[in-house]
Symmetry: C2
Subunit: 210 residues, 2 copies
């Protein structure tokens, strides 16, 4: 399946389609037309067809889409047909939140270890992991398959820790620290910058007031 | 200042400019050219000029930008020249994380109350707030200026709570629940869908493998 050269906007929408389809399945909806899907998702039907055409179209439009088939196919496009091992660096509130989040496991993301530099947190159980010392990180990464590192640590530590992980061979970072990591170009970084999200909301409030 | 009809892509980048400028100020950098800024931010200089031209350009390009002036002006565009009162619904890990996050206060977001439906959390201090019963929510919102509600509650409760907040007059939601809230069109919703972010990362991993 050709998934190269897909625009970032399409990639941004794919997980949303996936979430909607998951909700449709929960509601036992077997088939949906692009029109119905578009009404639920507040995007145009032509947008949906255009997006899906990047991946071969996912089935006949005239009869609507088979929800489960579409869900499975988009899951494959998103790489969710297999599990991904994730380690969490930072056992603060954000680290705990993601370790305890049931939806990630359902999608195949398996949290295999949590590390923290604070000795008083060592040994605490969070989700299905026990917090380990940062001293164990190097050995853990070299002995286990670690695909993604979630960085839930302060900005001041994030770049150094990320660079260390890259040198250990970790190729994908899910970064919650409010800074850019400046890693080599072949390392994937997905940022969750909460302050930026809140500022966008503030912008839109201001815009309404004008 | 005309800030209407600005594209969502520009709005998406503005907080990032703001964050970079804040870092430049921390490093005592007084002036920066669009070329230098573009290299740091990995966007083209022409993109930066184009973005800034939506807001009048923010000063002469030939001499570079005055960092503090640019920071202040973008802050004004983002509505950060005044404070915003935020309540948090849900005192779980995500609610705690945002209540304790120092950067929000620095940007003028003031968390004025936290509510949770779990009686065992009532009275616990989180950040500068004490967790209150959901039974207090209606009175609190009617007696206080609440501009933004952060929804850090499970999906099953999110829509009902959001609809209730709207009926109490809250006009902006910062939604962490993994669902769309389906609120009236005049209510602003900024979503933080963590699972979608992680799925985008998974997509990019898969893309690299192909």
């Amino acid at each position: 399946m050709a998934s190269k050269n897909i625009s970032r906007a399409v990639i941004r929408r794919l997980p949303r389609y996936y979430r909607y389809l998951s909700e449709l399945m929960e509601n036992n909806i077997v088939r949906i037309s692009s029109k119905e899907l578009s009404e639920r998702m507040h995007v145009t039907a032509s947008q949906i067809r255009q997006d899906f055409n990047n991946f071969g179209g996912f089935g006949q439009q005239g009869y609507g889409y088979n929800v489960e088939f579409l869900y499975t196919e988009i899951g494959k496009v998103l790489g969710l047909e297999r599990t991904h091992n994730v380690i969490i660096i930072g056992a603060g509130n954000v680290g705990r939140a993601i370790a305890n989040y049931p939806d990630f496991k359902k999608r195949g993301f398996v949290f295999t270890a949590i590390f923290d530099s604070n000795p008083s947190l060592e040994g605490i159980k969070i989700g299905e992991c026990v917090v380990q010392s940062m001293d164990n990180l190097e050995r853990f990464v070299s002995e286990n398959d670690v695909e993604i590192a979630a960085l839930t640590i302060p900005k001041c530590a994030a770049r150094e820790v990320a660079a260390g992980l890259v040198s250990l061979g970790v190729k994908a970072m899910w970064n919650f620290a409010p800074t850019d990591l400046n890693l080599p170009g072949d390392v994937l970084v997905e940022n969750v910058h909460l302050a930026e999200s809140l500022m966008r909301l503030s912008y839109r409030i201001k815009e309404l007031e004008e």
